[in-house]
Subunit: 136 residues, 6 copies
Amino acid sequence: METAYFGRRYMLSASHRLHSEALSDDANRATFGKCNNPHGHGHNYVIEVLVGGPVDAETGMVMNMATLDGVVQTSILQRFDHTNLNFDPLFVNRVPTTENLCREVYSVLKFVLPTVKLEHVRVEETENNFFQFYGE
Amino acid sequence: METAYFGRRYMLSASHRLHSEALSDDANRATFGKCNNPHGHGHNYVIEVLVGGPVDAETGMVMNMATLDGVVQTSILQRFDHTNLNFDPLFVNRVPTTENLCREVYSVLKFVLPTVKLEHVRVEETENNFFQFYGE
Amino acid sequence: METAYFGRRYMLSASHRLHSEALSDDANRATFGKCNNPHGHGHNYVIEVLVGGPVDAETGMVMNMATLDGVVQTSILQRFDHTNLNFDPLFVNRVPTTENLCREVYSVLKFVLPTVKLEHVRVEETENNFFQFYGE
Amino acid sequence: METAYFGRRYMLSASHRLHSEALSDDANRATFGKCNNPHGHGHNYVIEVLVGGPVDAETGMVMNMATLDGVVQTSILQRFDHTNLNFDPLFVNRVPTTENLCREVYSVLKFVLPTVKLEHVRVEETENNFFQFYGE
Amino acid sequence: METAYFGRRYMLSASHRLHSEALSDDANRATFGKCNNPHGHGHNYVIEVLVGGPVDAETGMVMNMATLDGVVQTSILQRFDHTNLNFDPLFVNRVPTTENLCREVYSVLKFVLPTVKLEHVRVEETENNFFQFYGE
Amino acid sequence: METAYFGRRYMLSASHRLHSEALSDDANRATFGKCNNPHGHGHNYVIEVLVGGPVDAETGMVMNMATLDGVVQTSILQRFDHTNLNFDPLFVNRVPTTENLCREVYSVLKFVLPTVKLEHVRVEETENNFFQFYGE
């Protein structure tokens, strides 16, 4: 049975400050530049979720969009939208880069989406830079 | 010889109603929500075609864009643009989901594009959801 | 007191067929081209609403975004989203062009938004054509 | 002499928390919703500047783009990009809504752009909401 | 009778070199920077045309889109698309800035569109800068 | 160790004329159409670079964005931005198609980015056509 892919894009607004406890203040400024500003800054992140599976013969769908929307709303958007990422437990000992956010979104969705294959998670930080994770 | 990929995006406007003969009226409403409204609704679909092959040494091209445009115009846009998808023979016994539209566009183009490899067809239903098919 | 302007964009998917009872079949085809196809076709419309007023000193806002969202949801999106425009009472004796949709959205919002000034309604039919109405 | 208009778009990333000292905690939550979350959240703002004037016969320009870029860089982006807006002196006694940010950008640019007419400043908070100010 | 506005966007690819015969080589480099590079460079320009008029009661339109497309195709795109602007007669004694291109498009369309009011022409040079002309 | 992917988009404006020395004038016009116009034409190209690697535990990054920006600025943008591609040594005996530009950008970046894996280079010629190269 051939696989079709369904992608869906969500927006969330959050702030973060890039700062590593493992680095000196100078090294932090050198590494993260403006992103190390003490009071943080923010982004409109686009979260793109791509799932794959056979097309159901009765419904013509890979997965019901309302189901995916519900799962992402509950597990991702309620947790991260309109928050400061540095205060999320995930980022207590980890720099809240978009790479790390992308991996976390992938891990969470992998766990809560058991019946379709999660192909990738893509997080766009701005319209000119983005991150992708395939779990491999 | 290395492969290069050429992608091209086309727009088509069409309407559809999601309704499965295999389901009761209640199950249809539960499955398809607003998309089950009796009189249908519509979209501006973006059809993205990606082909791959070696770059021709004389022309510097994977494939002539005018050729691809002609093929897509004749085989896809003349058939689907400004139509109601439910009336296409393809959808007599099949729900006109974008998954199914995407697979059909892939099948048709696979057949009429013999000299390059058709890599994928992607159909964007709105700017926030899309479908992809690779023929595998 | 100076005026600030707040704009908000909404998306709705709907289908329509352009056909005028005042014209012969030939004149309809000549006037509306592919848009006269009997089974209709559809669009993802973007509805842009622009309101103007003084910035409230306490809240720093022209108008609460949640309020505007509620008004547009109730008066516009519930009525038109995922529908066939030709079946709306507005279009019994009127061609469902986007010009006419734009005027209707303006009239409805003018009536239900009494405390701010409705500056314009803009409806984008595709990314390459749009309509605007200022009520004058 | 006829007027031509030159528009330019800049991006800045910043965080803010919407909270008014003039309101109770409950009223703040009711008014600002998720935007009142204590640790703030962020956006990629687009700042659009529109200036107008005659087209110079020698250069064919309304205004040199490099000049405008320099002015906006120095007076707006260095101050607001990658910051938390709540810590800007402007927002000590004012809610950092995008309406207020838009007015401030207008005021600053009006002052530092003496030789062309500043027509408007538009600030897009997300791709679906924006604010405009014309100084009137 | 109230006025409705119809906007339409066209794309054209062209090259230009910004260089003024009225300036020395040094002044040209200082004024136009990279845009003064001797061999020219290019853009995908978006030409937006906005016309206004009453909505026709029979057709529901301000102006037939196919008519506008034909006029713009014949008078603007055939002349400028896939050309080097510096070789157009318009630019023999004038710098081919986008300000000047915008004014010319306005003048030409004003002349060939007698039955509707041409409201503005907007030319986007890149997604971050644009020019507008209202004929006043 | 799992791989994360970091993508970054850059814009460059350049002109080109598609013309092959290996073809007659008639064959050139038949092959390249409007793109064979003698004086050339231009585009705003988007260059998308995708790199992959493990996420560094200390910095939370695949690669420092400022480093990538510097490399692309020096090796790609300074060479191609605001130029006529036909005058680049690369295109002395090669047609300056976007396929060939894409391959060259890939080759150059492959050479100067030794510590991360270059996954792909994508070049968008217009918003409706693009090219990708993976080095295979």
